[in-house]
């Protein structure tokens, strides 16, 4: 595209000069309270969960760790989506997305904090969550005995540490370089990040896949599905784009980024959200089709569980609400450019993502049917609170856009053709 075209492109809604208020979180802005609000929610939610769950009997303790796992995965999956977004933008040298990349960097900056959510699970909850971790579990179970070289507690813990170490390292490294470019404007930093992004994506793909195997698939250690990592990944990235949509819509409403993020960027975020709705459905259906077609008992057990009792309704709601409805809703261009419509879709899809995780975890605890618990809400509140606090801290620490990224001008004038 010739530069000449851009001159004519400057629509009246986009002023040429940027004010500081749109590039930094202004003093006294309500979003500066995110860390405090988040921390309060985390203390109340997680503290309440522990108080409620650890003082009751064994049954309520099981509920506690399952609810805790769903909440932690919800926050973690959004953060992982943010890390993926940053890596992909560097790998593809994307120009359009520079104005929203810092939001994704703030999202991935929550990863080291979210590791804290998995500590209690590892220390206290492992036995309640994972049947295979019981000392005598494999003695009468040939399948578990065969899987023991992979599925044993020490190796599981080493892997868990490795996942969070790799994610935290990637998030910190890319975040730090991006911040440094704000100060120095060094173009070489862009090239360094681009070179590192491809190996970073490989690491990301492997860690997310095995994380999903470890923390979700092994809840039912007899069952296996090779596509499961991708399934978790697809839902995670979709959830991130839903979160990004909300930040953009409500940020602009709160006077942030209003001069830098236009409805053109918003439309592209909406397109990606739509794309990952479809990608999730593609993964979900691919998994279902092969298991349904082959009809092998060790594979079908997963869906048999989820077609039992009221889980059947949850499965149908998931198929319709996570794919069919948002597919048609997000199809028109005008919806993606409309603040209210996009925010509504984003809220809805985040709820569906939560249902997806709940649907993956909970049938192992409540095989007879859906059984909501107060602990579900408490743990979710706490995990989201911690996420919000960490996100808010990152938001305050740095400019809202990569100030001196060489592609920032391109991003500012981006228009969908």
């Amino acid at each position: 595209m010739s530069d000449a075209g851009h001159h004519t492109a400057s629509s009246p809604s986009r002023p040429a000069a940027l004010s500081a208020a749109s590039l930094w979180l202004p003093p006294g802005h309500s979003w500066r309270r995110f860390p405090l609000i988040g921390l309060a929610l985390a203390v109340v939610g997680l503290g309440g969960s522990l108080a409620l769950g650890l003082t009751g009997g064994e049954e309520i303790r099981h509920q506690l760790w399952h609810s805790w796992l769903v909440g932690s995965l919800f926050a973690l999956s959004i953060a992982l989506g943010g890390l993926f977004f940053v890596l992909v933008q560097h790998a593809t040298q994307a120009g359009w997305s520079v104005v929203v990349r810092r939001i994704a960097e703030n999202v991935m900056a929550t990863l080291p904090f979210l590791a804290l959510l998995f500590l209690p699970l590892v220390i206290l909850g492992l036995g309640d969550l994972f049947h295979w971790s019981h000392p005598g579990a494999m003695e009468h179970d040939k399948v578990l005995a065969g899987k023991a070289p992979y599925l044993n507690v020490p190796f599981f813990l080493i892997r868990a540490v490795a996942y969070f170490a790799i994610w935290s390292f990637l998030a910190a490294w890319f975040g730090r370089l991006s911040r440094r470019q704000d100060e120095t404007g060094d173009r070489e930093i862009t090239r360094r990040m681009r070179r590192a992004s491809a190996p970073g994506l490989i690491l990301f793909a492997l860690t997310v896949t095995f994380f999903a195997f470890d923390w979700l698939m092994s809840l039912n250690p007899h069952w296996y599905s090779t596509i499961f990592g991708l399934y978790f990944f697809a839902g995670s990235v979709m959830a991130f784009f839903a979160f990004l949509s909300l930040v953009v819509v409500f940020g602009r409403r709160a006077g942030l980024l209003s001069q830098v993020v236009s409805s053109e960027h918003q439309q592209d975020i909406g397109k990606l959200l739509f794309g990952f709705v479809v990608f999730w459905a593609y993964m979900a259906f691919s998994q279902y089709l092969l298991i349904w077609y082959a009809n092998l008992p060790e594979e079908t057990v997963f869906f048999a569980q989820r077609f039992t009792g009221s889980w059947r309704i949850a499965s149908i709601v998931l198929a319709l609400g996570h794919f069919v409805v948002p597919f048609f809703f997000l199809l028109p261009r005008t919806i993606k450019r409309n603040n209210t419509a996009l925010a509504a879709a984003a809220f809805w899809l985040l709820a569906m993502h939560l249902l997806d995780l709940y649907w993956l975890v909970m049938p192992n605890l409540h095989p007879a049917g859906v059984e909501p618990s107060l602990l579900d809400a408490a743990a979710l509140t706490g995990c989201c609170g911690l996420f919000l606090a960490a996100f808010g801290l990152a938001l305050k620490r740095q400019a809202l856009v990569p100030l001196r990224d060489p592609r920032l001008p391109e991003s500012l004038t981006f228009e969908n053709v």
Binding site: M1, A4, G5, H6, T8, A9, R333, E415
Partner: protein
């Protein structure tokens, strides 16, 4: 409108053609033509000019609807054909599954939806653009060849209700046109050229 021939205004004059030197000049001239109330006109540039559709006051394209209908038609064909074959025309029990085993039909249904959408997009675009057009009266203008190189043009067709050769050409000149000419409908008729400086 016949096949391979664009729909053309009746009469000896196709319309007025104005040349501009920059995309910015074209953009602002389009705003002027739009505000003057013209409806049957077009802009020509060697590359996409961002926002030109707004400057021209174009309505949203109907193409997405064509794509949607074609995609849904493809999907309906896919599910319908497989369902009919499996339940009515040639029912077979395959690995003990019901005749109408919809999960097995999804891949083909999906592919036909994509095929229908893609065909709708390509041929819908051709149709709405009246392509392929083998000849167009504007080709009579020697200057118009630069529309694919470095020239920016507006053509206002003579069947526009507001069209009046003299006044339309005046308007285009006022809007900053470098050259304005009247283009004949048929290659046998001569074009009339006027310069902005005259």
């Amino acid at each position: 409108m016949g096949l391979l021939r664009p729909s053309l205004p009746p009469g000896a004059t196709f319309g007025a053609l104005a040349e501009f030197t920059t995309p910015a000049a074209l953009y602002h001239a389009c705003e002027g033509v739009r505000d003057a109330g013209y409806t049957r006109w077009d802009a020509h540039a060697p590359f996409p000019v961002h926002g030109l559709e707004r400057a021209m006051g174009l309505k949203a394209s109907r193409l997405p609807w064509i794509v949607l209908v074609m995609a849904l038609g493809g999907a309906a064909t896919g599910i319908g054909l497989q369902g009919w074959v499996s339940t009515i025309a040639y029912p077979l029990v395959i690995s003990g599954k019901p005749f109408f085993s919809w999960p097995a039909f999804v891949p083909v249904t999906f592919e036909l939806a994509v095929l229908g959408g893609a065909l709708g997009a390509v041929f819908g675009m051709f149709g709405l653009n009246q392509l392929p057009t083998l000849h167009h009266p504007l080709f009579a203008s020697k200057r118009f060849e630069r529309a694919s190189d470095d020239g920016f043009f507006i053509s206002i067709e003579s069947w526009d209700p507001k069209f009046d050769a003299g006044r339309t050409m005046d308007l285009l000149r006022r809007l900053g046109a470098q050259e304005v000419e009247l283009v004949a409908s048929s290659p046998d008729l001569p074009n009339v050229t006027t310069r902005a400086t005259e």
